[in-house]
């Protein structure tokens, strides 16, 4: 499973793709099965919005507590906020935040690796 993420241009906020728009909560993100071309289509759409978001890319997800969570801890920190202070997105609480906080290990998201390679 995958989701599409980026940073919003005006404020840098971490955002996720949901039905043609960008939302702040990972819990609201559209989920794309790995072989579903809709994910790449959404990514292409995001790349055509340079005044809305910066560097959209697909992230890989794994199951955690019956929900989906980003496979890489980097993406979990982006989705939750920093771990040293409780003042990021994690303050919203709820099942999705709990699932992200309990997810373990993993690997880098392929989308992010591709982005690093491009740089």
């Amino acid at each position: 499973m995958k989701a599409l993420t980026a940073n919003r241009l005006t404020d840098g906020e971490v955002v996720f793709w949901q039905a043609g728009k960008w939302v702040e909560s990972f819990g609201d993100a559209d989920l794309f099965p790995d072989d579903d071309p809709a994910g790449e289509a959404a990514e292409a759409h995001g790349k055509n919005q340079p005044t809305v978001v910066v560097e959209p890319y697909l992230i890989d997800l794994v199951e955690s507590q019956g929900l989906w969570a980003p496979v890489s801890y980097r993406e979990r920190i982006r989705a939750l906020g920093p771990t040293n202070l409780n003042h990021g997105k994690q303050t919203a609480g709820g099942a999705v935040v709990a699932a992200l906080q309990h997810a373990h290990g993993g690997a880098r998201s392929k989308g992010r690796v591709d982005l690093i390679k491009r740089k």
Partner: protein
């Protein structure tokens, strides 16, 4: 403190207006991200994990209360109520909106501050001894020279597009509090036998992927010739630095490749061509020096009754004095170190409220002077000993009186993966766990001086290579692991640490540090610091203990 003149002020106003235009063009789509990124970086604005980060220059770590209050205002208005002091003695705000950045730069310009040259391949913020003007050890006030370098290097046209970033430190005391030997150029003020002033010039230090300790290329450079010599170094580097490979582009690689002697020879040849035309005129030096006239200290007895009584009555105050109050050149005064390393807090962070308390204390008791150290703490450099008890109480009331300077919980940590887009692993939470292990102040004092430095990636913003215990976060198949090094030092006895062994997982790092400390306590001879014991015993006993546990 140096005061901006109209030229400085006009330049900042122009830069701020220019950036406002650039941001507007980016938001409208006239500039794309690739075009805009170098422009925002020229103004210290990075895009990080959760938001934009604005890095504000604090030249030679020197602030007045008005400036610190302005930083508190920005933190409260545009960030989440705090800021993060860095190892370059800068301040970073981690929750900035792009659309607010032009207004923030205007606010900064009002108090003679900016974010220029806090990023990019240019000469970065110059650092100096945080005890400048306060310690009896110094030969001259390094701020005079650091300010002259700031003026010379700010938007210097020839050195605005160097092969890579460039960092200069100035110190004037035998005890190096600037990590001069890990800088691209380290300048150590000295006096010749005839009393004339000069610099030992060290070039080609640096941390990052390939750490180097700077060799001395000139033992004594007459002070009046500083700027032509700096120009010769920068010109040699600008011409021959490795622009083809970002990992080999720092001057340290050039110096190492040519060798110290050959590099020095090329610099001297260039210097001869330049002549003295680019040196600072005496009148200009005198003008700058005038801004750092020695403070007028009261004539006081060396001992203060109030101070001594407070020490006798309050063990907690006595502990604070032991660890955080250092000798001042004027009798009856002390240098007060303000720890930004409260146990369990984020190293280098200060809340807006805390910044305001420090600004008030500097105004009431500290001659309007505040310093930032490269170890991410603050200093009130001129406090009457009789005022130290009141200052201590005011600091303690806002969590700023942790008596841990140079102890194991006084940890340098970069923002790491909690904030930074470059990081591979977290640094802050590792620092928090280690500090919590040594929360008992008696134990921390028994251990004594121990510098723990943590970086979340190989770029080494947390100076891990030169930690007595260095910790480097790495990404091993997507998981946080940490490589430990021992025996590094960023001080006058600078050295790059030696690897302990295979990287450890996140949840074993704090225990491993605890084990290393236990080995030290077992092995140490009288008077030995952790570093001394390590240098005597080598890595073997430490390695054996950590991996016996880890396995």
């Amino acid at each position: 403190m140096y005061q901006y003149d109209t030229i400085d002020k006009d330049m900042l106003a122009d830069r701020s207006a220019e950036f406002r235009g650039q941001v507007a063009r980016r938001l409208s789509g006239e500039l794309n991200e690739d075009q805009f990124k170098p422009l925002r970086l020229r103004n210290g604005l990075y895009l990080q994990l959760h938001a934009y980060m604005l890095r504000i220059a604090i030249p030679y770590g020197s602030l007045n209360p008005t400036q610190l209050r302005k930083l508190a205002f920005i933190g409260r208005t545009y960030d989440k109520g705090y800021g993060h002091f860095t190892t370059r003695t800068n301040l970073q705000f981690h929750w900035i909106k792009l659309s607010d950045a032009p207004d923030i730069l205007d606010h900064l310009a009002e108090v003679d501050m900016h974010a220029i040259q806090t990023s990019g391949n240019c000469i970065r913020n110059v650092t100096a001894d945080p005890y400048a003007g306060a310690t009896a050890e110094e030969i001259d006030d390094p701020r005079v020279w650091a300010e002259a370098i700031r003026q010379w290097s700010t938007v210097h046209p020839e050195f605005s597009w160097l092969p890579r970033k460039f960092k200069i430190a100035v110190t004037a005391a035998p005890k190096d509090r600037t990590a001069a030997k890990t800088h691209d150029i380290g300048l150590n003020l000295k006096r010749a036998r005839d009393g004339s002033l000069g610099f030992e010039v060290m070039v080609g230090g640096g941390l990052g992927r390939l750490p180097h300790i700077a060799p001395t290329i000139r033992e004594f450079l007459p002070a009046a010739r500083l700027f032509s010599y700096l120009e010769a170094i920068l010109r040699t580097y600008n011409r021959h630095g490795r622009r083809d490979n970002i990992h080999k582009a720092r001057i340290k690689i050039l110096v190492a490749a040519l060798g110290r002697e050959e590099f020095a020879r090329q610099v001297e040849a260039e210097w001869e061509k330049i002549g003295s035309g680019s040196d600072l005129p005496d009148t200009e030096l005198a003008r700058i020096r005038g801004a750092f006239r020695p403070m007028s200290f009261e004539t006081l007895p060396a001992q203060s009754e109030i101070f001594e009584e407070a020490k006798a009555a309050k063990p907690a105050f006595a502990r604070f004095v032991r660890n955080n109050v250092k000798p001042h050149k004027a009798p009856g005064y002390g240098i007060v170190e303000v720890s930004l390393k409260a146990i369990g807090e984020t190293p280098g962070d200060a809340t807006a409220d805390q910044m305001e308390v420090i600004a008030d204390l500097a105004e009431r008791f500290g001659q309007n002077d505040i310093r930032v150290t490269h170890e991410q703490n603050l200093v009130l450099p001129h406090v009457k000993l009789s005022d130290v008890p009141v200052v201590w109480e005011a600091l303690a009331a806002v969590g700023l009186a942790t008596p841990n300077m140079n102890l194991v919980s006084d940890i340098i940590a970069c923002p790491g993966l909690d904030y930074c887009a470059l990081a591979n692993a977290r640094a802050i939470s590792v620092a928090q766990h280690i500090a919590e292990k040594f929360a008992d102040p008696d134990r921390a004092e028994r251990v004594g001086e121990l510098k723990v430095k943590i970086s979340g990636c190989i770029n080494a913003c947390g100076h891990h290579h030169v930690g007595h215990i260095g910790i480097l976060g790495v990404d091993k198949k997507g998981e946080e692991f940490y490589q430990l090094t021992l025996g590094g030092s960023g001080a006058e006895d600078a050295a790059v640490g030696q690897a302990l062994g295979p990287a450890l997982p996140y949840d074993r790092v704090a225990d491993a540090v605890d084990t290393l400390v236990e080995v030290y306590l077992r092995e140490r001879n009288d008077g030995e610091r952790f570093l001394d014991t390590f240098r005597r015993t080598g890595v073997a006993p430490f390695k054996e203990a950590v991996y016996a546990v880890a396995d």
